[in-house]
C-alpha cells in the first residue's frame, strides 16, 4: 500500500509535525478521533506508543512500534503493532481481530522537497497488514473500526 500526499509546507515543518509528539497527538487517527497519549522515543531502536480515543471518549486501542531507520528530514522506517497501555505488543486477537502476528512488518515514510515550499510525503505501508487485508483477515479490524467510525459519523452529524 502506497499513499502519497503533497503538503503546502516545507519539509522541515512536515518532519517536525511527524516526529514531535506535541503535534502527532493532534493529527493521528481518523476524523473525530484524538490521540491523547503519544509517547515517542524518536531514535533508531527507540519505541513509540500512542492511543486512539473515539469522540465519545472511549479509548479504542493502543498502537506501538519501533524505529529502525531515521534519515533526518528524509525518511523513517518503523514497525507498528497493536499494543496495550504499557506498550507491550499484543496478540491482535485481543482486539477481536483474527490476524497472524504481523511480525514487525516495515513501514516507510519519506519526505521529499516538491518545490514552491511544498513537500511530498510517501507512506509505504506495512506489507503484512496488506497481506492480511488481501486474505480477508483484516475484516475483523475493519468491522470494529467501521462500527466505531460510524459512531463518529453519527456524532459529527449531531454537532
Amino acid at each position: 500500500m502506497v499513499i502519497t500526499r503533497i503538503f503546502d509546507a516545507p519539509r522541515e515543518l512536515v518532519w517536525k509535525a511527524w516526529t514531535d509528539p506535541k503535534y502527532v497527538t493532534q493529527w493521528w487517527g481518523p476524523k473525530g478521533f484524538t490521540a491523547p497519549v503519544c509517547k515517542m522515543d524518536f531514535r533508531v531502536g527507540g519505541k513509540f506508543l500512542w492511543c486512539m480515543k473515539a469522540p465519545d471518549g472511549e479509548v479504542v486501542g493502543w498502537n506501538g512500534g519501533e524505529y529502525f531507520e531515521i534519515v533526518e528530514h528524509e525518511k523513517i522506517v518503523y514497525s507498528m503493532y497493536f499494543a496495550d497501555a504499557e506498550g507491550n505488543k499484543v496478540d491482535p486477537a485481543q482486539y477481536g481481530i483474527e490476524l497472524e502476528d504481523t511480525d514487525d512488518g516495515r513501514n516507510v515514510v519519506t519526505f521529499e522537497d516538491f518545490g514552491h515550499g511544498q513537500t511530498k510525503l510517501t507512506l509505504i505501508g506495512n506489507e503484512s497488514m496488506e497481506n492480511a487485508k488481501d486474505s480477508g483477515q483484516l475484516e475483523g479490524w475493519n468491522e470494529i473500526l467501521e462500527k466505531v467510525a460510524a459512531v463518529v459519523v453519527g456524532l459529527a452529524k449531531s454537532e
Binding site: 476524523k31 486477537a93 477481536g96 507512506l123 505501508g125 475493519n142 460510524a150
Partner: protein
C-alpha cells in the same frame, strides 16, 4: 462475528455454529469483544446471550473502512496542523 450480531442477539452456541472454530476459541473472541465494550454478554437461564452494544450498531452501511482511509484522514488532519504551525512560525 460482529456482522452476525448486527443482525440480532445470539447465544454463544449460536455463534459457534457458523464458524469453524472450537467453543473455546469462540468464547475467547467473545471475551475480547466484551472487554472492548462492543458486545454485552448476559446470562439467560443456562445460556449466555451476546448482544452488540447500541453504540456499536449505529451503522452507515456504505462506509468501508480500510487502512488507507485511516491514513488519508490522519493526513487530512496533519494538513490542518501544518497550517497552524506555519501561522505560529509567521508570528515570531
Amino acid at each position: 462475528m460482529i456482522e452476525r450480531l448486527s443482525h440480532g442477539p445470539a447465544t454463544v452456541h449460536g455463534l459457534t455454529e457458523p464458524f469453524a472454530l472450537s467453543q473455546q476459541m469462540i468464547s475467547k473472541h467473545i471475551a475480547c469483544l466484551v472487554r472492548a465494550r462492543i458486545v454485552i454478554k448476559a446470562k439467560r437461564g443456562r445460556e449466555s446471550v451476546c448482544t452488540l452494544r447500541p453504540e456499536a450498531i449505529k451503522t452507515v452501511s456504505d462506509w468501508a473502512f480500510n487502512y488507507r482511509r485511516f491514513w488519508e484522514e490522519s493526513l487530512d488532519k496533519l494538513d490542518v496542523v501544518l497550517k497552524e504551525m506555519k501561522k505560529e512560525g509567521a508570528r515570531k
